[in-house]
Amino acid sequence: MVSIEELRACAAKLLDEGKVKAVIGYRRGSAGLLAEPCVIDQPADTESLIWDPGCVHNLALYLVKDKKAQAASKTPDKRPLAVVAKGCDSRAVAVLLQENFFKREDVVVIGVSCEGTGVVDARKLAAKLKGRTASQVEFDGADGFKVTIGNTESRVPASEILADRCLECRAPSPVLNDVLFGTAVEQRELAMPFTAVKAAEAASEEERWASWEHHFDRCLRCFACRSVCPMCYCPECVVDSTSFVITAETSAEDKANRVRWCERSAGSGESALYHLTRAMHLAGRCVDCGECERVCPVNIPLRLLNTKLEMEAFEMFEYQAGRDVSQASLLSSFRDEDPNSFVR
């Protein structure tokens, strides 16, 4: 079990000794059972830190945001940041380090092990409660959650309301950490890697297209999936160019000739290009934190696209994102024995 007192003490100590400028962690949210990300810079405030199954967010995102803010600032504060990280979050930090987005000494990883369970899927829980709302979810033993509804508490087996990505998770304990709370587990009962992708693959080509056409059609292009992803850190996205400034002097020809890979209109063709391109840009980088899928307002199963490539990378190239900070990235390396039979 993760001892929250020890975690708070550790955070307070880091701040007290001036080792970090702030600790990024979770605190109780004001709406519902999900925690809320918070940035704490006073040792006394570490009392509000929590760790429960509602801590769904991938906090590596805020390391990226801080790095960007410091780069844009005239008086950057270059002191390191500490971050509370689950297994998947620590993989995200590892990929960012591998890509040299920031340096190892810029971040202190306070690892928390998900041990036998993980975080809840609020949609699954809502469906299970049939209209009642839970105010809190807590860990209960190695394979269950304690759900509080009003004044009553009940125990729910973890496998029923666990987020899909946790059900499929292969590394629930942070591999990259400076300090670890909870027990490091490597193998666990639940591990069912790539279950969802394999199920999707079992359908015929026609069925697969029918379902993806439906999903691409529904995409609002709100870009929430891109905003929440710690790996989508490009200053300008290829599908949504923002650097082309139109002034009174811009000629019609300039406007017509500018390269536009993707139109803003949210039709299925344009959205397909967005999602397929995004999936390729995340190949070997997506750490399967499931955040994109969680935030999608129209429930597009985005994880499928990313885990499909994750599975191919794992099976064909023995590559796992975030496993090793020093490994060459998936697409900037090759082996002579890479598959060749698909080429004529």
Binding site: E205, R208, L276, M280, L305, P339, R344
Partner: protein
């Protein structure tokens, strides 16, 4: 709304596929020239786009071609070991392996994307690759899945 993809009959007899072919300047593009000067007969459906190396073909080029209505996309480069830039085709092979898996995963027909190694001396192979590709795509009919509808 009427969905044209679902109302039109997929295969017409006079269907001539449009194929976008990204050809490496150092090999496949020269290979296609050789096929031409050797007066080999092969279908004229491929629109060649010369690139400096198969490794320079971004997945975005491929998705974009399909979005704009290509019935098939071919990427052709130098044989492994022969890339002018040493490693470009190895990078391309890995990347496009993933592209091809991803496209098929969302339901684009397998035969719509193809990769080949054609050297500057292989005019006949180039003609064969294009001929086979056109034949396979004719069997599939026009590509409507990833094409943008206006």
């Amino acid at each position: 709304m009427l969905n044209p993809a679902k109302t039109m009959t997929p295969v017409q007899d006079d269907f001539e596929p449009k194929i976008v072919a990204f050809l490496c300047k150092w090999c496949s593009s020269a290979g296609s020239d050789l096929a031409g000067v050797s007066r080999l007969q092969y279908p004229p459906n491929a629109v060649p786009i010369q690139v400096m190396c198969s490794g320079s073909v971004s997945p975005l080029y491929i998705m974009s071609a399909f979005k704009k209505g290509a019935d098939g996309v071919l990427v052709s480069g130098c044989h492994p070991g022969d890339c002018h830039y040493m490693k470009g085709n190895y990078f391309a092979r890995r990347r496009l392996f993933l592209v091809q898996k991803l496209l098929n995963f969302v339901g684009l027909e397998k035969d719509r994307f193809r990769m080949s190694w054609v050297s500057a001396a292989e005019g006949a192979k180039f003609a064969e690759v294009v001929g086979d590709f056109v034949r396979d795509i004719k069997a599939l009919g026009p590509q409507r899945r990833l094409k943008v509808r206006r």
